[in-house]
Symmetry: C2
DNA sequence: CGGGGGCTTGAGAATTTTCAAGGTCCGTGG
DNA sequence: CCACGGACCTTGAAAATTCTCAAGCCCCCG
């Protein structure tokens, strides 16, 4: 189970076994039996995917879901006039695309790699079968959906009630919590100004102006796309973040 | 199973049996066995609840969830400055409050009756137990959470990208689809201007101004809190609703 | 070294909020 | 029965926020 070389349909030099991913935090699979894990290792397809690759698009039927070994994927919807709205990110240990499979609907969002990723593609059948046969796994999926639903409700409230300035401050703190910082204390995740705008539902120019205002106020420092938080307390105050 | 008179802890003259509710569209319970249904009828508590009653509040632990027999309940969050954001409504056949029980979190929203309701309160234990023992029921819950998650994603995109005017047109059409109309073709659901504002994340005055603009433009007619749609096509166009 | 994508800034326009004031409606208590 | 109070609705005017359009810059990649 712990060997590292992929075979068969997997075209990576280093294919993580599912056990590796569990160790990496993909807790969703932690209650699979050894047999189910072996089965999963057989049916999954694992690939390295470059930034910019679209994995699936809103409105299409999808025949499997993804588990992230490494890298970052953005999950987004396309609104009127083609403007995109980023719903969430998936990173190491996260799964995505499972929602449409469970609910039997078409994909309600699109997925694009924004940081080179190692992704496992797992057939819908495996999910549907295992959800029916493994009670603990079923509870994990249910749990995940319910937690995401709670997050979505919070997001709805924030986006509906907070100003762009508040949302930007909040999202910077969120990116910090979610992705952490590199050796120089810059946020690890690197987003274009437009992507930031698409997370908080505003215009690119507004993000630029507010970022530079935050910089002037010594709340953050900027280096190209890299953002470093200098003053957490003030950002929290501005973003009405209590935690 | 089909008798109508409640006994024991239920204090209604007419307590619906769970089978009644299933016939009413509470499909979530359709895969319970006869024994489970009898059990449910035993453990549930059923009451008539007046408009304005708060059932539970955001942040608290809850020890059960609700099933709506009749009436309407609004599910909302309280944002900064105490302004409320309506996340969704629950009506006949819907359940609510299950999310926090499944995910083991505190309630992420509050619930208040806005139209006199018949509500059954079902202990958390019943949900947790049945989800573990009845595969089909478990799938129903999972399915429900996933569909709500899809709805939430759509809502996020709309609220982030559409103007207040677009959102108002859209929400009027939504209320029509969801609650239907009475004999005079007025929307059945009756909301204050403030509640409408709290659905679309805007100020009460903005709703008032836009409603009266829609009225001037002959898109709707107004009679106190009652709204009648006169021109669906134009509302759809304004709200960028394609369906 | 040319082109393209992304970033920045400015200025004016549009949308939306806020504050203030007054009106209506309805249920309750005197 | 009527007056009163409170909640809700309406309108106006000014202010604040945010968007849009336009232009120019930078920087990296081919």
């Amino acid at each position: 189970m712990m060997h590292k070389n992929g075979v068969g349909k997997n075209n990576l030099e280093l294919v993580p076994t599912c056990q590796d991913c569990i160790n990496n935090g993909a807790t969703i699979f932690r209650h699979l039996s050894d047999e189910e894990l072996r089965d999963l290792d057989q049916v999954k397809g694992c690939t390295i995917v470059k930034r910019g690759t679209v994995l699936y698009q809103e409105g299409n039927r999808i025949n499997g879901f993804y588990c992230v070994g490494r890298g970052i994927v953005k999950i987004f919807k396309t609104g009127v006039e083609g403007k995109e709205m980023i719903i969430r990110f998936a990173q190491s240990g996260d799964i995505f695309g499972y929602r449409s499979i469970i609910s039997g609907e078409n994909a309600c969002s699109s997925a694009m790699v924004i940081e080179e990723a190692v992704l496992c593609h797992i057939p819908a059948d495996f999910l549907l079968k295992t959800v029916n046969t493994n009670q603990a796994f079923s509870r994990e999926i249910m749990n995940l959906a319910c937690r995401e639903l709670g997050d979505a409700n919070n997001f709805i409230t924030d986006i509906a009630q907070k100003t762009v300035r508040e949302r930007l401050a909040e999202i910077i703190l969120y990116l910090h919590n979610e992705f952490g910082v590199d050796a120089d204390e810059y946020l690890k995740i690197s987003l274009t100004r437009e992507e930031i705008a698409n997370m908080i539902g505003t215009a690119t120019e507004s993000v630029i102006r507010l970022l530079s205002e935050f910089k002037t106020d010594q709340l953050i420092s900027l280096n190209g796309r890299k953002i470093k938080i200098l003053d957490y307390a003030s950002l929290k105050r501005i973003g009405n973040v209590f935690s």
